[in-house]
């Protein structure tokens, strides 16, 4: 398998992991809105459903993007595909 194909395979793997996490926090948990509201897990005292919509999921998305960017940079470096700094 060529270097490029391997690089793309890893990139695609990372994409799937990223989208899976994204799916859980943007869609998955909101299938259980009522259960979250009744849950005894109450971050900072807020009902869980309320907390996730106004901070929880949003914050996770921010962290997820930076994590994704870091991982992708590593993959690019591994195969020698990262840009020269002066590009």
């Amino acid at each position: 398998m060529s270097k490029q194909a391997q690089h793309w395979e890893k990139t695609r793997g990372l994409l799937f992991v990223t989208l899976a996490i994204w799916f859980v926090f943007s869609i998955g948990i909101f299938l259980f809105g009522a259960e979250m509201e009744a849950s005894s897990i109450r971050p900072f005292g807020y009902p869980l459903s309320y907390y996730m919509t106004c901070q929880g999921s949003l914050g996770i998305f921010v962290i997820l993007i930076f994590w994704f960017a870091g991982r992708q940079e590593k993959i690019d470096e591994e195969f020698g595909f990262s840009e020269r700094e002066d590009d």
């Binding site: 490029q4 990223t18 989208l19 994204w22 869609i27 259980f32 459903s49 919509t53 949003l58 840009e83």
Partner: protein, 606 residues
């Protein structure tokens, strides 16, 4: 100032700017104490900030193509994040969002999730690859990847429909704020707003818009956060509201029960008295009050729309590298998060200020005549944004007898909570910044697509630089005027048209963009069918629902993008597979897009 190592000086320049703005706020506060009238303070805030943006726009003027279209591809990661956040957060986010949460609660907060989650898609599916491509506009990518003028033209059509729907709402918002702050009629204020928007973008294109958007982000975030923190501390709710309002949220639920929310219903005849556009609180503040599908379908539409809106995508064309584009998406979302996570807190504080009889500011339970005598009530009632009426004739204001416009939640809360007027002036300036920055991005996206993709790529490929930029500027002005003219007609509300814009973009562009990178087999015929078919199906569904068709699967006029994008996906796959695979050169191009290193597909000047 904009010469030499301007980029290296950015932190210093914007640091000075932020300091200057804070000094200006303090001066205004002193002037207020010295007796300056509310009116003059409002005018000063709006006029001063708009003049600064115009000055930045003038200093960023350019006669170079890549500066005009791409800000010279040298916008640093963090600054591009701020510019994108301003580009992104429109009048709808700044002025309307907290109001929506105030009235509709959990069901409405799907927008918070949708308008942030979409950035994960932008970062992972699109932005870095489109940056590698080196295109000037989104249709530029579609046109080159799929090949052929028809694909390019289809992309321009979708872009124009979505962005134009969006921009009329933003010009409407600038007009609303300008008319309140400067005390002029709305249909004149719209053109004042337009003039300010054009001053920022006309001379310098993307370069000017970039540097004004950074300045506008700073103003809007200060204007949003100060009232939230101030009210929270004043009320004794907590030093850091985001983590400390749980008791207040619980207290609202307690008061809702006490005031009979949901039990006492207004009769249709009573509701007729309420001015159009105002609403009362009918949904509980923090309860889950919607079905999972309703919540998720709205969030999905906003997420896919985020990843398809060209004015956002083109911000990532301006970073120095692919790596920077990826990180920049993270920064954008971080800066957006600062405001979005505050909106529910503002809604909570605003509601509690009005509802809690233990607070000096609470009005529910007071006598009607007492409320009608309050200064801020009279002002906002005159502006047609607040209304009370004694439906049950007991002389006391009940929860179901108080009505407010969605915009008033952000704009009026500082006054309601008893903050000095200088904060209201600041909020007006923030709202103006939010609406202007988005309008600038949108007008530029449309006029760049028309000037670069239609005029230069399709009509006159031999045009000289000077002529291309002249055409671009003329189109910019024309589109601005068209937008303002439609905005002056006030066809629909700010929030509704913004949501429509997302659905339009999702219908026509989401799958053609994503599959362009992720599916080599996608070809021009498939893309054209996907774009036009998706847009047509989405629009048809919207029109059908608007004219009384009940719809299916609970898809409403706010989520018609689901219909459009599914049709778009199916058409794109079926038509692509039924026609010839893209040629070897196109396949090679897709391979090159997938790695960050190496030359851009499109040259630096094209």
């Amino acid at each position: 100032m904009f010469k030499g190592n301007f980029i290296n000086n950015l932190p210093k320049i914007y640091g000075t700017y932020t300091g200057g703005f804070i000094v200006f706020i303090i001066l205004m506060a002193i002037a207020e104490q010295a007796g300056m009238s509310a009116k003059v303070i409002g005018i000063c805030f709006v006029a001063f900030t708009v003049l600064i943006y115009a000055l930045i726009g003038y200093l960023s003027r350019t006669i170079q193509v890549d500066a005009y279209y791409l800000a010279g591809r040298q916008v640093p990661t963090v600054f591009n994040g701020m510019a994108t956040a301003a580009d992104w957060m429109s009048g709808a986010s700044f002025v309307a969002m907290a109001g929506g949460i105030y009235f509709k609660g959990y069901g409405y907060m799907a927008l918070l999730v949708g308008w942030t989650g979409g950035y994960v898609l932008v970062a992972s599916l699109l932005a870095p690859y489109l940056r590698k491509f080196g295109c000037y506009t989104v249709p530029d990518f579609i046109g080159t990847r799929y090949g052929g003028n028809l694909a390019r033209l289809s992309a321009v059509i979708v872009l124009t429909v979505a962005s134009f729907t969006y921009v009329t709402a933003q010009i409407n918002a600038t007009g609303t704020i300008a008319s309140v702050a400067l005390d002029i009629p709305f249909n004149i204020a719209v053109y004042v707003g337009l003039a300010s928007i054009l001053m920022c973008s006309m001379l310098g294109g993307m370069r000017a818009v970039t540097w004004t958007q950074v300045a506008q982000y700073i103003v809007l975030i200060i204007a949003y956060l100060i009232p939230v923190f101030w009210i929270s501390n004043k009320m004794g709710a907590g030093v850091f509201p985001h983590l400390m309002l749980a008791d207040e949220v619980a207290r609202i639920a307690e008061l809702e029960a006490q005031f009979g929310l949901g039990e006492i219903k207004n009769s249709a005849a009573d509701l007729k008295q309420v001015p159009k556009g105002l609403s009362g609180i009918t949904k509980a503040h923090a309860e889950v009050n919607t079905t999972p599908w309703k919540f998720i379908s709205l969030a999905v539409c906003m997420m896919a729309g985020t990843a398809s809106l060209p004015h956002v995508m083109m911000r990532y064309f301006t970073t120095p590298s692919v790596k920077a584009a990826r990180r920049s998406v993270g920064w954008s979302l971080f800066f957006i998060f600062l405001l979005y996570s505050s909106a529910p807190m503002l809604a909570t504080l605003s509601k509690l200020s009005l509802m809690d009889p233990n607070l000096a500011t609470g009005i529910i339970g007071k006598s009607i005549s007492e409320v009608q005598a309050i200064d801020w009530y009279q002002n906002w009632n005159q502006a047609n944004l607040m209304f009370v009426s004694d439906f049950n004739g007991n002389g006391t204001l009940e929860l179901n007898e108080f009505f407010m416009g969605g915009k008033a939640v952000v704009l009026a809360t500082p006054e309601i909570a008893g903050l000095p007027y200088v904060i209201s002036g600041l909020v007006a300036a923030g709202g103006m910044a939010a609406a202007m920055s988005t309008a600038d991005g949108l007008v530029l996206a449309i006029s760049n697509a028309l000037s670069h993709d239609i005029y230069y790529k399709m009509i006159n490929p031999k045009a000289e630089t000077a002529k291309r930029l002249l055409i671009a500027r003329i189109l910019l002005v024309l589109i601005g005027f068209a937008g303002a003219t439609i905005a002056a007609l006030e066809i629909q509300g700010i929030l509704g048209s913004v949501i429509w814009a997302f659905d339009f973009a999702m219908s026509g562009l989401f799958f053609p963009l994503v599959l362009g990178v992720w599916w080599k087999r996608a070809n021009a015929q498939g893309a054209v069918a996907g774009m036009l078919g998706g847009l047509a199906a989405g629009s048809a569904y919207l029109i059908a629902v608007r004219s009384g068709y009940p719809g299916f699967l609970d898809i409403t006029q706010l989520t018609f993008g689901i219909v459009g994008s599914v049709v778009s996906l199916v058409l794109m796959i079926v038509v692509s597979l039924a026609t010839k695979a893209p040629d070897a050169a196109t396949q090679k191009m897709v391979d090159d897009v997938r790695v960050p290193s190496g030359k851009a597909i499109l040259g630096r000047q094209h």
